[in-house]
Amino acid sequence: MEKLKKYVSFLRLRFAMGLQYRTAAFAGIATQFAWGFMEIMVFHAFNSSAPDAFPMGFGQLASYIWMQQAFLALFMTWFMENEIFDSIMDGNICYELCRPIDIYDLWFARSVATRTSRALLRCVPILLVAFFLPEPYGMMLPLDITTFVCFLAAMLLAMTVTIATCMLVYMLSFFTVSPQGLKLVFAMTAEILQGTVIPLPFFPPRVQRIMELLPFASMENVPLRIYSGHISGGEAAKAMLLQVFWIVVLITVGKLICRRAMKKVTLQGG
């Protein structure tokens, strides 16, 4: 309960901050819209040259891409907080340690707040426009209510996996001289493995099967494919179970490293 309150106050702060930069909000929406459009055009061209080879319905793909753009802020691994990296590098972390809260929980709540506030600000206009686009470029409505509920749950889990993975990077930053380099390497690895470059179904089946076991596939891949109806039923349940598994593993490991990092800070003074 106490934690939830802290999270809500973070969220309010972030939301108000986001509102102040209104040009930035409009610009972000325009950018993501352009991105989505280009992406769909490429797939459309591939689809026309060999429709049989297309691994999902084109409408499903369009939904996948618009959802991806609308909720970009929830899933992108490069979207980390520079202030956290800065506080690790310049030793301001000491101030954070003075607060009566676990540093892992604090940063976790902060990441949730930043990501959700940003996604909330941006998703509505993008989704609205995407729904009204002509077939087959536009977004489909969810197939049924069960799918939609599953999608929401999977999205929540996916965000948790994403943040838990980012937390690993923050924690490892205590042990490296180059957090920015670490972040870049990690984000690029995640980019291809979580299906941002091309969605996982476009990889050859054997490659895809291996990729689906990795934690990166438990990020945007699961909710976006559930929404578009590309996976459902038992398959969807299995994917969501795997998400839960990775959340447990990632948070446990993250907290372990966090304890080591705190020991290092208090021993060496940052």
Binding site: F15, L19, Q20, R22
Partner: protein, 261 residues
């Protein structure tokens, strides 16, 4: 010789209120207000003079310095620095002035200070012999010696300020603008900086214009002060006439109070 005549400058700033509701409101509708930074400012400064430019925060000190150094264009009024209008012939003008911003650094953080100097030599196209004699002279006067071989990030604030001063003087400027040069320095460094500025003015006849909140700076360096408040020049005169006897801090506090700034 510096002449400012009826200089005016206003800014337009977005109003921002606290609170969540206000943030939502300003997302859709934003209000602006006009702030007058300088209101009919006039003064003149002779070659070789040292002038203390004082006033509370937000009075217009930085705006004046920015106009004189060619960074800002005023709304109206005339300004001539040795016959040049700063904002019109920027390159020609800035080649002959030096500027030190006390809160900012012009040194490259990760390389020895001397490397930054070498770069400045190229930036200002300083002839090799002039550069060499200037570095030698400044090293002596500011006691830089070993410091020059150290990366700027490892220097103490006082050491760094001494290097900043040297960096601004490598091209032998006729006029030196100092924006709070002693801010945050320890007592020893403060005295070193003050003594250096006095010596610089005496030996090179460099005109020095100094803004500061530290009245000891003024006492040690300048004879004349210009007091600015709410964008207006309130007082321009000899420091001894104003303070008479007694503590300068109190005198200035008294001045601020009497002008209600």
């Amino acid at each position: 010789m510096i002449v400012m005549k009826n200089i005016c400058k206003t800014y337009r700033v977005a109003k921002r209120n606290a609170g969540f509701g206000a943030a939502v409101k300003s997302f859709f509708h934003r209000e602006y207000e006009t702030v007058t930074a300088l209101d009919n400012v006039s003064f003149s400064i002779q070659d070789g003079e040292t002038v203390g430019y004082i006033g509370p925060n937000g009075a217009g000190k930085s705006t004046t310095i920015k106009i004189l150094s060619g960074i800002l264009t005023p709304d109206s009024g005339e300004c001539l620095v040795d016959g040049r209008t700063p904002w019109k012939n920027r390159i020609e003008h800035v080649a002959k002035i030096g500027v030190v911003f006390g809160q900012r650094s012009q040194l490259w953080w990760d390389v020895p200070v001397i490397d930054s100097f070498e770069l400045l030599k190229d930036i200002y196209s300083i002839p090799a012999d002039v550069y060499k004699s200037n570095v030698e002279e400044l090293t002596g006067l500011l006691d830089l010696g070993e410091i020059l071989k150290t990366p700027a990030r490892q220097l103490s604030l006082g050491q760094r300020m001494r290097c900043e001063l040297a960096a601004s003087l490598l091209h032998s400027p006729d006029i030196l603008f100092l924006d709070e040069p002693t801010i945050g320095l320890d007592a020893v460094s403060k005295i070193a900086v003050r003594e250096f500025i006095v010596k610089l003015n005496q030996e090179r006849k460099t005109t020095v214009i100094l803004t500061t909140h530290d009245m000891q700076d003024i006492e040690a360096i300048t004879k004349r002060i210009i007091l600015i408040g709410k964008g207006k020049i309130l007082l321009d005169g000899d420091i001894s006439d104003i303070s008479g006897s007694g503590d300068i801090d109190h005198t200035v506090a008294e001045l601020y109070r009497s002008y209600e700034i």
